[in-house]
């Protein structure tokens, strides 16, 4: 049982939906980012999605692209992202951390070495956008063997025929992408997302969390209401990009978490 499994069990017992917050590791710099991440659990964040900067984030919109650029310009590497998690773990040993990013930095480091380092750093799960089930041998299967959850994205284009394949080697939770598009673009609609979540839940016992296109406490509440939880990324990242200090960003995060937890 990973921290992710434990967290969902705990939320279920409390009758609460999960609030997942995405921030880019090292945005705008390592120290500010660490301060922010350390403040997330107290702001009501149940699971932290920690973005790993990459030069070519093909599934991300301009907000997260720029966050990655800021982090890279500040000198962030994959090792720094793991170090940030390690430092966080010194003050918090229960809040799950999911690393989210692209495959090349992991492949470049070497999958085996990366998995050992990630587990040591206290990472609980991985979301790697450019690894569909067709490439499960690359990282998904080895990650599960190393005790990490591999969280898969299901999307509006994942039809019933394909869904079992997507769910097959998924663990932790299923991340439903609310729109066909990139992060931070169109707004997710609860009345469209609800039936899709139900469709997925009919095929799996895993929690289904919805992300992409959720920007306000109201939206977080509406979407969490039709799922097991909700993810907000770009809306938080754009506050960081706008130069707001961590305390102000955390106030905003708290409003989102409160929204999701009211669902």
């Amino acid at each position: 049982m990973t921290r992710i499994d434990a967290k969902f069990a705990e939320l279920k017992a409390q009758g609460k939906r999960a609030f997942v917050a995405y921030v880019m590791a090292g945005d705008p710099d390592y120290d500010t980012s660490l301060e922010l991440v350390k403040g997330l659990p107290a702001a009501g964040v149940d699971i932290i999605e920690l973005g790993v900067p990459f030069t070519d984030p093909m599934a991300d919109g301009p907000t997260i692209q720029r966050a990655g650029q800021r982090a890279l310009e500040a000198g962030m590497t994959l090792q720094d992202s793991l170090d940030l998690a390690t430092e966080f773990r010194r003050v918090d040993d229960t809040t799950p951390i999911v690393l989210m990013g692209y495959y090349n930095p992991i492949y470049s480091r070497g999958v085996d070495r990366f998995l050992i380092d990630a587990a040591t750093a206290g990472i609980d799960g991985l979301i790697v956008v450019d690894l569909p089930p067709e490439e499960d041998d690359e990282l998904c299967i080895p990650a599960q063997k190393a005790g990490l959850n591999f969280i898969r994205l299901a999307t509006p284009t994942t039809d019933d025929k394909r869904l079992p394949k997507v769910l097959q080697n998924t663990s932790g939770f299923v991340y439903y992408v609310s729109i066909t598009g990139i992060t931070g673009s169109a707004e997710a609609q609860a009345d469209e997302v609800g039936p899709e979540v139900a469709r997925i839940k009919a095929k799996t016992d895993l929690p289904v969390v919805v992300g992409f296109g959720i920007k306000t406490p109201e939206a977080a509440r509406a979407i969490a209401g039709v799922a097991d939880g909700t993810v907000v990324g770009s809306a938080i990242v754009s506050k960081i990009g706008g130069g707001e200090p961590p305390a102000k960003v955390l106030d905003f995060v708290k409003s989102l978490a409160d929204g999701a937890h009211q669902a």
Binding site: P105, P132, L153, I182
Partner: protein, 410 residues
Amino acid sequence: MPDDLINSFMTGPDEKGRFGIYGGRFVSETLMPLILELEAEYEKAKTDQSFWDEMDFLWKHYVGRPSPLYFAERLTERLGGAKVYFKRDELNHTGAHKINNVLGQILLARRMGKERIIAETGAGQHGVATATVCAKFGLKCVVYMGAHDVERQKPNVFRMRLLGAEVVPVTSGRGTLKDAMNDALRDWVTNVRDTFYCIGTVAGPHPYPAMVRDFQSIIGKEAKEQMQEAEGRLPDTIIAAIGGGSNAMGLFYPFLDDKEVRIIGVEAGGKGVDEKMEHCASLTGGRPGVLHGNRTYLLQDDDGQILEGFSISAGLDYPGIGPEHSWLHDTGRAEYVSITDAEALEAFQLSCETEGIIPALEPSHALAHVMKIAPELPGDHVICMNMCGRGDKDIYTVARALGMEMGEGD
């Protein structure tokens, strides 16, 4: 794997879309169903005679194929060694080999009922070809082009707009081909239901590398027959320039199992292949990684971050290379070398002076390597080089590099 252990080099990719360890389908889930649909559609078309009949008709009457195989006599004399032939794909409609592939993909898009076509372009040749075929079939066309390339390839930008395409300048990254491809993928993921992504080179997720190669293989197929006619035998050496590698794959593929034919791919060496990384020679100066849907050699730093390439030629300015080239490189079936900007410029001028052919900067790289090896080879050694594009689009760049005044237009 040593070359003599492989029976055929023409059987790839495998069912996972791999050439050895290269290739694959490294895309987001949103795109995966469409990529599988495309693969199924392509497999159907491949064995459908009516598909190829339509291709052959358009290749002949719209593109102007077959392109000539031309003996470059004065160039051969000047170099004083091997006999040099050009495969004249610069004479195609739209001025480059790109249209060979675009026609195939647009016919597939029509079969799939897609009415909106997107493309990425570097030098603009693929964008022009896509805009052209879209105009012919009345399809909506959106072309992503790095802002830097929009600037250095103005004539092609104007051409695309004349043809009714929307040209979107891409400002992320350094504004070159890699960034244009990122934005095209972002568009595709957003508009996946009605949009067909017409990739311009032998890269991207499976089935693109194989599909684009198959459409471009008309180059090598014709060259093989024409060389039989001209010399009564196969060429000794075939040479082509490589950015993503589509014109090269098109020339090489039909010759892969003719083991006596030496195959040379020429990468863009920019200012020189050294630790400063001001080049686009992925095979010479990169290592395997995953980008844009496939595993292949990439220019990247120690952390797996992708580096920007550098080349005088916008069409070669890409930090990756098609996965089949990576495999041919590792197996040793093909050799890969690099040519600097300065060498390519010299070749550009030599082609103009000796043959009256203004080549694009891309094949000028291939020609520069011919200039290096031909003088050392005997007179009965036959080289076939792919003259994959004409240089009209490059005259401003060349003028600037040579310090000449062009007056208007730049």
